[in-house]
């Protein structure tokens, strides 16, 4: 199976690989997937507590090229958005942007889950109620 140009580009030049200090109250961390399933994504956001804007986002992913590209793209999209805007990112947007084939849709789902998990972590840390949790896939 050939990869799309965009997947290859994210794979070769992943954006925002790294780690934020998860002990900070303005950092939300989402860890989704499982090693046995062949995909684990960790996505982190750093939020400006006054404006509610995501000022930084980092990821690390164990998985195939499409999983890496999905999380890399997600971090790009997150930066500059408010937390509320970030919640509107839909996995199908990722599928479309990266031209993921049907067998790789689960990678985009995982990225959406990771975003929601990171936001939830941030909310809980800041005394906000958890969102309707992420559907389990």
């Amino acid at each position: 199976m050939a990869y799309s140009e965009k997947v290859i580009d994210h794979y070769n030049n992943p954006k925002n690989v790294g780690t934020l200090d998860k002990s900070q109250t303005n950092v939300g961390t989402g860890l989704v997937g499982a090693p046995e399933c062949g995909d684990v994504m960790r996505l982190q956001i750093q939020v400006d507590e006054i404006t509610g804007t995501i000022t930084d986002a980092k990821f690390k992913t164990f998985g195939c090229g499409s999983a890496i590209a999905s999380s890399s793209l997600a971090t790009e999209w997150l930066k500059g958005k408010t937390v509320d805007q970030a919640l509107t990112i839909d996995n199908m947007d990722i599928v479309e942007e990266l031209n993921l084939p049907p067998v790789k849709i689960h990678c985009s789902v995982l990225a959406e889950d990771a975003i929601k998990a990171a936001i939830n972590d941030y909310r809980v840390k800041n005394g906000l109620p958890q969102l309707e949790t992420v559907a389990v896939h």
């Binding site: 794979y11 780690t19 090693p35 399933c37 062949g38 684990v40 164990f62 999983a67």
Partner: protein, 404 residues
């Protein structure tokens, strides 16, 4: 150096140019049907087939009459298992095989079960070898066949064939081996090894695709299989269909070359394989899968913990062709059943890469592969949350993963 480099010779091999040269006349001028007894075109084709039968028989120490031509190892596996099940139905209905066999064997056995037969799937030890005691204990008065592969396609583990055949014969049971990965790579001797039926294929030994062999013993004991296709009664009635003369000529030539060059080639390839393996084991948390002693000389299967196989291959698959036990590369989305049978967790199975060296592999290519794979593993580990956790001393088993 020409890129990409092919290190997936367990999947298929390029044809040796000498094989192609031998085949070419049989596509054009020498097009006769080997079954045409009435004219020179037929005789010419028959002679060519006879020569090939001799070349093939010699490689496995068989008699030329014991060579049945098929379309490949898949057909040979099916013919052996289904053909024995039918032919020996009055004797019993039980077959013993192992969980690490090729799908052609496993699915033929599944078919037998649907027909009301009994199949025992022996587990393997962590090194991929079967337990001989378990084999012997599995034999019942109903057992008609033991089907255990010679060398495994994924990990290269070579089973103790001689001991297996002795156990089978002690109990009056026939022994079949899928030797697709072993013939032409290591010495295979149907007499010394006590093999009653043996399957292999052209395209793993630098011959053409679409042609294979089922060896069926004619003496001590005389073995027969029920044909699985009805037709003109070719191949002593066991496999009908006009012979694929160019393919057979190619397979014969391929066997002749293996006969002459196998010993030196195995030596050369095992040295290169060991160099590749030892260099990659310099990486932390890299493990060889399967027994390293009882192994095909050209194969190594390595798990690079905390990176996923398909993601890893993407780092170098523009330049190096290998395959992975990762689920992502299989249609089933399940990681390799062979690696799981060796007791690897799904995570390690997902992290595995199989390297299959071959006749045309060079030292330069191995150098290149070592460099490229090492870089790719390091790069992906930098990106891997699991690697970071491992480095931070976090026990991954202590985490509650969300399974989907």
């Amino acid at each position: 150096m020409n890129l990409p480099i092919y290190l997936d010779n367990n999947a298929t091999t390029p044809m040796d140019p000498r094989v192609l040269e031998a085949m070419l006349p049989y596509f054009t001028n020498k097009f006769g049907n080997a079954a045409s007894r009435s004219h020179a075109f037929g005789w010419e084709a028959e002679d060519a087939v006879d020569t090939a039968r001799e070349q093939i028989a010699k490689l496995i120490n068989a008699d030329p009459k014991e060579i049945i031509f098929t379309s490949g190892a898949t057909e040979s596996d099916n013919l052996a298992i289904k053909g024995i099940f039918e032919m020996y139905a009055s004797k019993g209905n039980h077959i013993i095989t192992a969980v690490t066999e090729h799908k052609a064997v496993l699915d033929a056995c599944k078919h037998i079960e649907h027909l009301g037969g009994q199949v025992t799937y022996l587990p393997v030890k962590n090194d991929g070898l079967i337990d001989l005691e378990q084999l012997e204990n599995a034999i019942t008065p109903q057992t008609i066949l033991v089907a255990i592969m010679y060398g495994n396609n994924e990990v290269g583990v070579v089973q103790p064939i001689k001991e297996i055949s002795q156990i089978a014969h002690k109990h009056g049971v026939l022994f079949f081996t899928d030797a697709t990965q072993a013939v032409g790579k290591i010495p295979v001797d149907v007499i010394a090894d006590g093999i009653d039926l043996l399957a292999f294929t052209g395209h793993k030994i630098y011959g053409p695709k679409g042609v294979g062999v089922l060896y069926v013993r004619r003496k001590n004991p005389r073995v027969k299989v029920t044909a699985q296709m009805d037709g003109g009664g070719h191949e002593r009635g066991m496999r009908s269909g006009t012979l694929n003369v160019p393919g057979i000529v190619g397979l014969g030539k391929a066997c002749e070359i293996c006969m002459n060059e196998m010993a030196a080639e195995a030596e050369r390839l095992s040295q290169m394989r060991n160099r590749l393996e030892n260099a990659l084991l310099q990486l932390e948390e890299a493990y060889v899968n399967g027994n390293r002693e009882h192994r095909l000389p050209h194969t190594t299967n390595i798990s690079f913990k905390y990176v996923e196989g398909e993601g890893l291959m993407m780092g170098f698959n523009k330049n190096i062709a290998v395959s992975s036990g990762s689920a992502c590369t299989s249609a089933s989305l399940e990681p390799s059943y062979v690696l799981k049978a060796l007791g690897l967790g799904d995570d390690l199975a997902h992290s595995s890469i199989r390297f299959g060296l071959g006749r045309f592999t060079t030292d330069d290519q191995i150098d290149f592969a070592i460099e490229a794979v090492t870089q790719s593993v390091n790069k992906l580990r930098e990106m891997s949350p699991l690697w970071e956790m491992y480095k931070d001393g976090i026990d991954l088993d202590s985490i509650e993963w969300a399974h989907h």
